[in-house]
Amino acid sequence: MNRFDYIKPASVSEAVTEAARPGSAYLAAGTNMLDLMKVGVVGPERIIDVTGLPGLADIEWLTDGSVRIGALVRNSDLAYDTRFAETFPMVAEALLSGASAQLRNAATVGGNLMQRTRCAYFLDPASACNKREPGSGCDAREGENRLHAVIGFTEHCIAVHPSDFCVPLVALGAEVEVESLDGKRTIPLAEFHLLPGDTPHVETALRPGELITGLKLPAQAAAFSGHARYLKLRERTSYAFAVVSAAAALDMADGRIRQARIALGGVAAKPWRAEEAEASLVGAEASPSVFARAGEIALAGAHPSGSNAFKIELARRIVARALALALEGTPEAMPALPASPFSTLSGETSGVAHVA
């Protein structure tokens, strides 16, 4: 039996001390971690439950206008925080497009960043998977891979990172605050998740035992609040991971684009920021053709990793569409079907105000 010690530290310093010992893993809400333990994908010897740590469940507005989100803030609490949703509407929309209400009520910010891929072969201990068991091979490459990566993958791993939340976050230049026995540091989210290379089991820039304590969104990110959307294509209207998704945000001045932010989900092992595509828009007059071109540029390096060529075209189109929706302006209230292409179908809203 996978016997493990259960430790519930009362302070961050206690947590990082405990986690420094080998075989340890942090446990937050467990919506991902416990599933993986049950099917035998992970089997930590020591579980450090972080949910009791003080001071990590706050949304804190700093004087410079930036915001600090504690690692233990629940996904739904963040999405339904009025000021947060008004300032960073596409982040709220992404959060509400993920999982189900029950899961969002439990899942934490830190856990969302750290959630593992949904690659079916990773989740099946009887399959070969370099991520789960380095050197064993990658059964996804010749298997069921229509939802796998089209950017940044290698022969060693073609999995995607499944988070919705991380997509607008990386677009807005979020930073991850971490702490360990060696002290605190800050890692830009764009550098937090790693592409597989030949070490797909190394998924993040976190060092062993390092704890995520919070996230920071810079004050400048608020400049996009009026023109920001998250759009997510799914195989059912809700409660499904993205086939592809895009966060798009514009900072408009006199009909021209002053700055743009674009990131893609479901295409790579990390939330994929498309900086060249963003640059192509700066100073341009918004139009379908510049948006389409941005989509082309964003997917310039893409190629299929399996039976998933369609995702490339879909990703181009979703970038263009997300930009077009962003240009229309952030909706006054959260659509009833957040991030759905059909969000306009219903007059109802979910009751979350975007803009006061």
Partner: protein, 754 residues
């Protein structure tokens, strides 16, 4: 707790003498939403152990080794059952148990024939220990290359398809039919493997007491199953008691015996203690049946007027390497459209998979998913509106035999469905409708059809001295509302209010309630209950009209009518008496009546019998991203007499939602190399969520059928799936101009062509 301990709280004035026909809410509803309803796995008899199956991870080969000693050394493990030590069964599991039995995998040898086949059973004091024991067995295999697809499976000529249906049927001269055609449309269609995925997993709590066996298990066919278990274990059938008060869905997967449940019972016998065995969600993908894949081909010949001259439907159906359930998909074409020549033929395809089985509308669901699109394509080729085309080919009599229908209000279904949907505004050309947001809009339709069998069933009714009644039959409520509709029929026959009738059901020691399958449960068990009630009333009348002290004395020739717990003289309602009064004067503590159901063979011969319907669907499609959403569904169904419109509507809604699932979402993804199902959980095996379900309407088209049964009930449980799948696919075509001939319709199918 079961519903028979609950009294219903329906205002009495709602009914005026009639129970049947009323939209009574489910009698078990409160128990279910409050968690008070006990399902099989909620039972914990004294001394109970936990058993788990060890599922194979390969599809073909044999088990080379199991580390039994490692498992046995684990604390809490009581027994590890493998082919080497499993106690013998009294019926060969490699034989098919009549009438519907399948070959089952119960550790008869070390061969592996599909993924998730049980290769051992671990019994332990706790579920955790059993689960760990299963892991410690660390099976090693001798693996052979599995056959997983059309190109490596073995094709064969099936002797029969479905449950004993003919594999090949020809009516008329098919070659002559095609020769006479001015136009022939031909296309191939694919339907994927789908799994029942009932909310409640298959479970059994088995307790042996000497040679007596008590089973708590979800079961759609109580008596038949009890008889089968008795044979497997070599005990008299009266010694087997199955209790199945509630099922968390069945959809056909709980009607047929399967390996894991037999193994749970066997484990209890082998260790001499009660045992509980519950499948995990992932373990349900293999040993408990599924809807098998089909590769279908349809060829339709039409003449200049758009009338069919020939209809040829071919289907290859996947089955296991060791049993023969082939989806009877092509036979759907025998039921619906008039054509001078029709041919339906099937082939089987042997794959290394668990044996498929009946799943909600077996045959008709997959068959109609192809046929209704083919009909749409033929209408398109003829330049005709799809409804007009269907009306032009309306079958006034059964297409293959010329027999009259016992009743068929399909024309009314078309009319009422089309009117409510607004079908007459549909442009013929695809890709021409847009909504105010720029989404492509498409309208499609499909015809729904399903047979309406009536099975043998029995029931008992006991009228008590106080004028209330107890009615009993071993019926099955799997969520469809049998506890309610069956009680309504009994109350109706007894002339009592529903709350005066105590209803016992869901046990195999009650009179045989038959099978809850084939959409025939209400027609079967309901008829038996109704007859039992009538029997009691006849006995009571006999007493009253012969009793000089009764106001009904001498009414023998005129007759009496039962209602509100009284008998009335038929020609004079002022002369009446309560049941209690009649019984008291006669000195009778109770009157017991019995009833049976079974179709009159003469009617069955003379008439073709089906339920029918017409489904209209609207979809919206994002013109660039090609995501599809069903935005409207209207179904009009004619299925004989409606006992409870609320429950019936729920069945139609459920069926139509299943249609959304089939058309756009459901598919088990088996890895070609290993046969392992890579999405064997409800996060990745998609079925609709609330946000997928549009505005729906189910129209109950009246239909009086004097031939199907005395009560005139057909069946409503499965028909809603049929028609809907094709309607949605046709709507997607109408929105986009793209014909997708494989299910589920996916983003890439539409994206690639736009």
């Amino acid at each position: 707790m079961s519903p028979d301990t609950q009294s219903t709280t329906i205002p009495r004035h709602v009914r005026h003498g009639s129970n049947a026909g009323q939209p009574v809410s489910r009698r078990d509803g409160v128990l279910k939403v409050t968690g008070a309803a006990t399902y099989a796995a909620d039972n914990h008899p004294e001394g109970m152990l936990h058993a788990v199956i060890v599922p194979s991870t390969i599809a073909r080969g044999r088990v080379r080794s199991l580390d039994v000693s490692a498992a046995k050394a684990h604390p809490g493990i009581v027994e590890v059952i493998t082919p080497e030590n499993r106690i013998p069964l009294h019926f060969d599991p490699n034989d098919k148990m009549p009438p519907f039995g399948f070959r089952v995998e119960v550790l008869q040898d070390d061969s592996v024939r599909y993924v998730n086949q049980p290769i051992a059973v671990v019994v332990a004091e706790t579920l955790e220990a059993a689960t760990e024991g299963a892991r410690l067995l660390a099976p090693r295999y001798e693996e052979e290359l599995p056959r997983t697809d059309l190109d490596n499976g073995e094709r064969y000529d099936a002797e029969a398809v479905g449950v004993g249906a003919p594999a090949v049927t020809t009516a008329g001269d098919i070659d002559a039919g095609f020769a006479a055609a001015t136009r022939v449309t031909e296309a191939e269609y694919y339907t994927p493997p789908q799994y029942h995925n009932a909310m409640e997993p298959h479970a059994v709590v088995a307790e042996w007491n000497g040679d007596h066996l008590t089973l708590d298990m979800p079961n759609q066919a109580l008596r038949m199953s009890a008889a089968s278990y008795a044979q497997y274990f070599g005990i008299p059938v009266e010694n087997v008691l199955i209790r199945s008060p509630f099922l968390g869905g069945g959809f056909g997967s709980k009607a047929i015996l399967n390996g894991p449940q037999i193994l749970g019972i066997l484990a209890a016998r082998q260790v001499g203690r009660p045992v509980k065995l519950v499948l995990t969600r992932a373990q349900m993908y293999g040993p408990v049946g599924h809807r098998g894949r089909t590769w279908q081909k349809l060829r339709l010949g039409t003449d200049a007027e758009g009338k069919l001259t020939a209809l040829h439907h071919t289907s290859i159906g996947a089955t296991s390497s060791f049993d023969d359930f082939v989806e009877p998909a092509a036979n759907t074409s025998l039921m619906l459209y008039a054509s001078p020549a029709i041919r339906a033929d099937h082939k089987g395809l042997r794959l290394d998979i668990g044996t498929p089985g009946p799943m909600r509308a077996p045959g008709e669901a997959s068959g109609s998913a192809a046929l209704e699109v083919a009909i749409d394509e033929a209408a398109q080729a003829c330049g005709m509106d799809p409804l007009a085309f269907r009306l032009a080919n309306y079958a006034e009599t059964e297409p293959t035999s010329g027999r009259p229908y016992s009743s068929k209000a399909l024309r009314e279904c078309y009319e009422q469905g089309a009117a409510s949907f607004g079908w007459s505004n549909r442009p013929l050309e695809p890709g021409t409708m847009r909504d105010e947001n720029g989404f492509l809009v498409g309208w499609g339709m499909g015809t729904a059809v399903f047979p309406c069998p009536q099975f043998p069933a029995e029931a008992r009714a006991t009228l008590r001295a106080d004028g209330t009644a107890l009615v009993e039959t071993g019926g099955v409520d799997m969520g469809q509302g049998a506890w309610t509709a069956l009680a309504q029929l009994a109350a109706e026959a007894l002339g009592l209010d529903l709350d005066q009738v105590e209803f016992h059901s869901g046990r195999s020691d009650l009179p045989d309630g038959g099978v809850a399958g084939g959409s025939g449960h209400t027609a079967s068990a309901g008829q038996a209950l109704s007859n039992a009630g009538s029997d009691v009333i006849a006995q009571l009348s006999e007493i009253a009209v012969n009793d000089p002290d009764s106001p009904l004395f001498g009414a023998g020739n005129i007759g009496v009518v039962a209602g509100e717990g009284r008998l009335y003289r038929r020609d004079d309602e002022t002369r009446s008496e309560t049941y209690a009064e009649i019984l008291a004067r006669a000195g009778r503590a109770e009157l017991v009546g019995s009833g049976k159901s079974g179709r009159d063979p003469a009617s069955a011969d003379r008439f073709a019998m089906n339920s029918h319907g017409a489904v209209f669907a609207e979809v919206k499609v994002d013109p660039a991203l090609m995501q599809v959403k069903v935005t409207r569904l209207v179904g009009a169904f004619a299925a004989g007499r409606v006992i409870n419109p609320k429950l019936v509507r729920s069945q139609y809604y459920g069926g139509m939602i299943w249609g959304i699932s089939f058309a756009l979402q459901e598919e088990a993804l088996a890895d070609r190399r290993t046969g392992r199902i890579m999405n064997a959980d409800l996060a990745e095996y998609h079925v609709p969520v609330n946000a997928d379900v549009p505005e729906m309407e189910a129209i109950l088209v009246p239909e009086v059928d004097p031939h199907v049964s005395p009560l005139g009930i057909k069946g409503v449980g499965e028909i809603g799936v049929t028609g809907t799948v094709g309607a949605i696919a046709n709507a997607v075509w109408h929105a986009t101009g793209i014909r997708v001939r494989k299910y589920p319709i996916r983003l890439e199918d539409l994206l690639a062509r736009r």
